[in-house]
């Protein structure tokens, strides 16, 4: 089962249209919420008049900040720096509106249509304030403070440093100084967010459907904010329509909807609409870098100095300083940067707050780093592959400490052979042949080019994951996991792992996750950790269960342990006798268990702890053709070589890579949260925020390898969720620059056709001039 590309157990219900997503949950007497959101980028909220809204037909309640009993701000989950507390978000705005989309009031009505009618009846009195949508201008001394006391809108600053930057610069033969920018974009899953909350007044129990990703953490947060004992709250994860990091964090609505359910003693449902989603679910990716890279004439980088501004948004949310931390910790990638510094800033701007999105901080870091390398290669007239090879961390140095830190953990690459991977990728791509072809075509006037980007991904983060495996009296195996399903196939992967250990058919396994009443502990699904940590926990629990099965079977079959084996759902003895698991489960009931002198039940729990990440790695290679008169790009060939250590289900791993690639493509070419100077979100619909369709996503050649298993977990796996996305912007930008023979440089994303046309025209000018 492990290593087999079997079809997923999740598929059938989703294909038949009977899988239940949050908008499919119906509760008797359910009410519907709609949220009144700020239309102002920055304003003092003087008054919100909800009286007319309250009087609208079908309206049951309208709440504003004063109804929330002074509830505190939503706490941070990751990288919670002290100084970020000043800028946390409360569930509703009180006296200031800081971004378009900020929740001000909630209307609860008999149906969503009536709730939206009532939204239009709320009147605001505001005093508009200075708006900042750009991190550089927001962090100037004279900029108005978005949060009083947060000077220059810099909510947090930290410096990561290894070696000595100035020594490095001094020893360089030349220094590259460049500014880079990556645009604001984010996950935009196809399903918007939603919640259903129901309060059983009689038993004082609150149930919330819809949480995902980090259900147990959110459970704790909600209990605190509602001032309720955690054991009186049950969170239940339902089917999830994609997460990518954005869905499942604790948002204002995650407090408001349960709060209302408890207040009104009627179930309350909130389903986000698309316009709301674009302006209230976490944004991400927006970074400005000021780079100084010192290098030798042979291409070796001797100093890498990055001044980073991360445009966070108007508030700090659950991710704290994660975004710049990721960029800073993983900027070095696969390269040996002995003198590296990142001076990182969380800058507040009047935009929707930001959080993690697939490969957070790393999409931008890869873009910057890989562009810089290509710029150096161009200046030295060296092959960009050669420059990379000269800078790679040699495999002999594994495990390799980069000298950076994230989540209180030093970054130590566990295993990897970057040079081998690049060479393999270049080989598969027929790099030399295609390079010659490009030269010929360019001589004939076409703009075709090859771009590459190497990356190291961070996966399998801890601190732990929980699993319990049980067998019922019919022989059905149930895995209780602290992981979450955001659509990625975690049920299948866990089933494969347990099926292998327990020698049982996949169809006899069921996975329970995301239900806080059934799964006592959990960390969740993020940072490509479900297989690594969740899978390892399930493996350990299954291995313990194996021991229990043998234990019971020794007695039941009167056989020696050495003569027992697990075969297809039964324990089999050498002599030929066997007993199916279900019967053993029956024997394990308390009465007979006591007689046998053992603990009742066939159930094993495990917590897999991990304090180091696992680092898969790879290469993206792109060959493209630029229409020099329109700026449109046609990708002729794209290859991704990715080493994941070990693939439990190669078909699912490939699916993750291709899916990630499509998102990376969107980020490189199409997607952008555009704002005007008044802080109005211009991309408020899917006609303006452009998600790639099947026409825009080309075929990708995948080279999936398992060269460098991770020594950090019993499966040897590294997570695969983010490797497809992080290097796409870099590879495409490098390819476009190559198409123009380095006569122009790309320093910004996205590569809109208009932008590329300007580059084409600049290249043409440069050719004429020189």
């Amino acid at each position: 089962m492990i290593g087999a590309s079997i079809p997923r157990v999740e598929d059938k219900r989703r294909l038949r249209g009977v899988a239940r997503y949050i908008a499919d949950i119906q509760r008797p007497g359910m009410l519907h919420a709609a949220i009144f959101r700020s239309q102002f980028g920055h304003a003092r909220l003087i008054r919100a008049d909800i009286s007319r809204a309250r009087a609208m037909p079908g309206v049951v309640a309208v709440v504003a900040f004063e109804d929330l009993n002074g509830v505190g701000p939503i706490p941070m989950r990751l990288e919670p720096s002290e100084d970020l507390y000043r800028a946390l978000q409360r569930p509703l705005a009180s006296d200031r509106l800081r971004y378009v989309g900020e929740p001000i009031a909630v209307i609860v009505a008999e149906n969503r249509y009536l709730a939206e009618d009532a939204l239009e009846m709320i009147e605001l009195e505001v005093e508009e304030l200075e708006v900042h949508v750009d991190a550089r201008s927001a962090s100037k001394a004279e900029a108005a403070e978005i949060h009083p006391g947060v000077a220059r809108n810099i909510a947090h600053r930290f410096v990561t440093e290894t070696g000595n930057i100035e020594d490095g610069i001094a020893s360089a033969d030349a220094v590259l100084e460049e500014d880079f920018y990556v645009q604001r974009h984010s996950a935009v899953p196809l399903e918007t967010r939603g919640l259903v909350a129901e309060y059983d007044e009689a038993r004082e129990m609150l149930t919330v459907w819809g949480p995902t990703k980090v259900v147990h953490f959110n459970h704790g947060v909600l209990a605190k904010l509602l001032d309720m004992p955690p054991s009186r709250i049950r969170m239940i994860e339902v089917e999830v329509g994609g997460g990518f990091g954005v869905r499942g964090e604790f948002y204002p609505e995650d407090y408001l909807i349960p709060f209302l359910a408890r207040k009104l003693c009627r179930p309350v449902r909130w389903i986000e609409d698309r316009n709301e989603h674009l302006k209230s679910a976490n944004h991400s990716r927006e970074q400005s870098h000021r780079l100084r890279v010192g290098y030798r004439n042979d291409g070796r980088i001797v100093a890498f100095d990055d001044h980073l501004l991360t445009a966070m948004g108007a508030y700090i949310r659950t991710h704290g300083a994660t975004l710049p931390t990721m960029a800073a910790a993983y900027m070095p990638g696969p390269y040996k940067l002995d003198n590296y510094r990142c001076d990182a800033h969380c800058v507040l701007v009047n935009k929707t707050p930001a959080g993690t999105y697939r490969g957070p901080g790393r999409f931008g870091a890869s873009f910057v780093r890989e562009r810089a390398i290509d710029m150096i290669a161009r200046r030295l007239q060296l092959d960009p592959a050669e420059v990379r090879l000269r800078n790679f961390i040699p495999t002999e140095l594994m495990p390799y400490s980069t000298g950076t830190m994230a989540f209180d953990t030093p970054t130590v690459y566990d295993s990897g052979d970057y040079a081998k991977q690049l060479k393999r990728a270049l080989d598969e791509f027929q790099y030399q042949k295609r390079k010659s072809w490009c030269r010929e075509q360019r001589a004939a006037g076409r703009a075709v080019g090859i771009g590459m980007a190497c990356f190291v991904e961070k996966t399998g983060g801890g601190p732990w994951e929980y699993a319990r495996v049980e067998i019922d009296t019919s022989g059905e195996v149930v895995i209780y996991s602290g992981a979450a399903d955001v659509g990625q196939g975690v049920e299948t992967v866990l089933s494969q792992i347990v099926a292998d250990t327990l020698s049982i058919q996949i169809g006899r396994i069921r996975v329970v996750h995301g239900d806080t009443s059934l799964v006592p502990f959990g960390v969740g699904a993020f940072g490509s950790r479900s297989t690594v940590v969740g899978g390892s926990a399930a493996l350990r629990a299954a291995q313990d269960l194996e021991k229990q099965l043998f234990g019971f079977a020794e007695t039941a079959l009167q056989a020696d342990r050495a003569d027992l084996s697990l075969q297809n759902g039964s324990v089999v003895a050498k002599g030929g006798s066997s007993i199916p698991y279900g019967e053993l489960a029956a024997l394990s009931m308390p009465s007979s268990a006591r007689d046998l002198g053992i603990k009742p039940g066939i159930s094993a729990e495990a917590v897999f702890h991990v304090d180091r990440m696992a680092f898969p790695y790879g290469v993206h290679l792109a060959l493209l053709d630029v229409d020099q008169k329109t700026g449109f790009i046609k990708i002729l060939k794209y290859l991704i070589a990715f080493d994941v250590g070990r693939a439990i289900n190669p078909m699912l791993v490939k699916g993750q890579i291709i899916g990630g690639f499509a998102q990376g493509l969107g980020g490189a070419l199409l997607e952008e949260f555009a704002y005007d100077d008044a802080g109005q979100l211009l991309s408020g619909s899917l006609m303006d925020y452009l998600l790639p369709s099947c026409i825009e996503v080309p075929d990708v050649d995948l080279v999936l390898t398992e060269e460098s298993p991770s020594p950090l977990n019993p499966l040897g796996v590294k997570g695969a969720g983010e490797g497809g996305v992080v290097a796409v912007g870099a590879a495409l930008a490098n390819a476009v620059c190559d198409a123009f023979e380095g006569l122009v440089d790309i320093r910004r994303l996205p590569l809109r056709p208009e932008t590329v046309l300007e580059l084409a025209q600049a290249a043409k000018q440069a050719r004429r001039g020189g």
Partner: protein, 291 residues
């Protein structure tokens, strides 16, 4: 994003629909395919008090050749126009343009009349109808009007139709025998509104001289643009790449297209010229003339 409340009417004859339009006044909106109107209603950008559903009126969608004139009922679905044999054969420009109109699901419900009366500045159909010198037939309870495209399309999302008038039919005259047509557009993604789009119909004689030329643009202003000057320039000249280039330059030199988050005015103008050149070269190529 639920629409605001409205009163719904579903007249079963055209006369009934026209009477309703007259009686209910400017707060009434006709509902054709709904592919443009309903999204705007869901966004609450448009809030008609009365919606007059035209979908129950029989014989409102048709493609009929009536001696030399093609008559297309306003409620003809895009899909029908796309697959019509007579249109493919005799008005291939229209068939080609249909491929660029949104996506298959939109074309199932969307209608030619609905699209034209919506008059989006970046829509493909107005430019196509203009290139084909179609006539728009409007009816109200008090009478009928026949408008040329330049009389019908007034500006962004604005036509000359009075609040009590309905577009009921589009008529296309037969083109001279032997013409070739081509359409192309630039858009960020397949099916999106055009950044720029160009439609052309041409004919060359035996010595590669252009004897007939139509050239229209979409996405370059408040409404479609017909490049009369460029058309005049082309007729009588030998079809060469420099002649085409000059025509494209002439056609686009006075344009002042809008800017939005997808493209600036400058980009639209520049690429309008490029697309015009390419589209003309293709159409002329279909005439057997290599430029």
């Amino acid at each position: 994003m639920k629409p605001p409340p409205f009163e719904y009417y579903a007249p079963s004859t055209l006369d009934e629909a026209l009477r309703l339009l007259r009686d209910l006044g400017p707060d009434a909106r006709p509902l054709a395919g709904g592919q443009s109107l309903v999204p705007m209603m869901n966004f609450r950008l448009v809030r008609p008090r009365y919606v007059i559903d035209l979908n129950r009126i029989p014989n409102f969608g048709y493609v009929r050749l009536n001696s030399d004139v093609l008559q297309i009922g306003a409620m003809t679905r895009h899909r029908e126009v796309e697959h019509s044999e007579v249109i493919k054969n005799q008005w291939p420009l229209l068939a080609e343009v249909m491929k660029h109109v949104a996506h298959v699901q939109i074309r199932s419900r969307g209608t030619i009349g609905g699209s034209l009366s919506h008059a989006d500045p970046s829509a493909e159909l107005p430019a196509a109808i203009a290139a084909l010198e179609g006539t728009l037939i409007l009816r109200s309870h008090s009478g009928t009007r026949r408008l040329r495209p330049h009389e019908y399309f007034m500006g962004a999302l604005t036509t000359a139709a009075e609040p009590d008038e309905l577009l009921v039919e589009i008529q296309l005259p037969t083109l001279p025998a032997g013409t070739s047509a081509a359409f192309d557009e630039l858009s960020r993604r397949r099916g999106d509104f055009a950044i720029v789009g160009v439609a052309t119909v041409v004919k060359c004689n035996a010595v590669a001289e252009i004897t007939f030329a139509r050239l229209t643009f979409t996405g370059v202003g408040e409404k479609y643009f017909r490049a009369h000057d460029a058309e005049e320039y082309l007729v009588g000249r030998k079809a060469t790449s420099s002649v085409i280039a000059e025509a494209a330059r002439m056609a686009t030199s006075t344009l002042d297209p809008p800017s939005d988050i997808h493209a600036s005015s400058n980009y639209r103008r520049q690429t309008a010229e490029v697309v015009a050149e390419r589209v003309m070269a293709r159409a002329i190529g279909q005439q057997g003339v290599m430029v």
